[in-house]
Symmetry: C2
Subunit: 190 residues, 2 copies
């Protein structure tokens, strides 16, 4: 099997370390050490840590199963629940550590890097749009009330999910995720 390219090794290591430590605690040397490549090789592949963060953000987005929100083989309200249940399981498997790369970068880097901020606006925007699409279908089939604008509902749910992660990173007891599912599916999407 072909050995992963140096660039791939760097992206894989950065994906892991940005997720585990956040943006600011994770320097170029830590990433190249973790990738097992010389620090000097970094700048052959990336202009900056910021540029690498954009690649990681895009790759992370591709793991969020966003396309499944448009899978018409599944009832739209079920799709919405499956989506957030997948995201929950993905954080529970780390014992409520690491959180969401988007949330972490938003908190740590959006104020200080216009490029990362732009990437986050795109990432949160396409995620919210996919959630809104499923909500719109659920409103059409009557499983969700049509009283609220689907875009506003989606924005609220995506943010409430990000906040549930904030709560779990502190408490690590499942109570914030439980409250999210109770209110999101018992009250907000009704």
């Amino acid at each position: 099997m072909a050995r992963a390219s140096v660039r791939e090794q760097i992206v894989d290591a950065a994906f892991e370390q940005f997720h585990r430590l956040g943006y600011n605690a994770c320097g170029v040397k830590l990433i190249t050490d973790s990738a097992g490549v010389p620090k000097g090789s970094f700048y052959n592949h990336f202009e900056s840590k910021e540029a690498l963060a954009l690649v990681v953000m895009e790759r992370y987005g591709a793991t969020r199963r966003v396309p499944a929100l448009a899978d018409t083989a599944v009832a739209p309200l079920t799709r919405l629940r499956d989506h957030f249940e997948f995201l929950a399981s993905d954080i529970e498997k780390y014992g409520y550590e690491r959180g969401c790369v988007f949330g972490n970068f938003s908190n740590e880097a959006a104020d200080h890097s216009p490029a990362i901020r732009d990437g986050l606006v795109t990432s949160f925007g396409s995620w919210s749009a996919a959630v809104a699409g499923a909500i719109r279908e659920a409103q059409a089939d009557g499983s969700v009330t049509s009283q609220q604008d689907p875009e506003v509902l989606a924005r609220f749910l995506v943010n409430a999910w990000e906040g549930a992660i904030v709560g779990e990173r502190a408490a690590k007891d499942g109570s914030s995720f439980a409250a999210f599912f109770t209110l999101a599916f018992g009250t907000v999407l009704r």
Copy 2:
């Protein structure tokens, strides 16, 4: 007027810099430089950056107007709205930068510092308990439905608020705060 003690100068500077830059981007030297005191003086007053962060977290908590949530001179649902409107104005004044010290520390430091994590559990816990107290009163006077457990509602709202901040730090356009107020007061607290 007496000059602020070195300890106070350090706490004031740390409050500002932790809020502005987060936990990891803000080292002891940056704090002492910002305080205008020698770096060597830091360890006369604090065992570690972590110990200082706990002091800052407590001081930040004291600025959140949590006691007003128990002010029976004001209707409980009005108190809840006033509370989140105050928190919103406190972030809008920085152009949606800086966020919430609790949320920032939760994302950046809770996984790696048991002491900060404990502080956050206490901070989020007492904040949620105060929100739950106002919700309980609002349920008693009929302004909020009694169908949901006030503790679960409070946990959800506090987290949804933290998530709205995550959304605003990326978009900085007011849409996440607007979605929070629409859903929190139009649907969740009904």
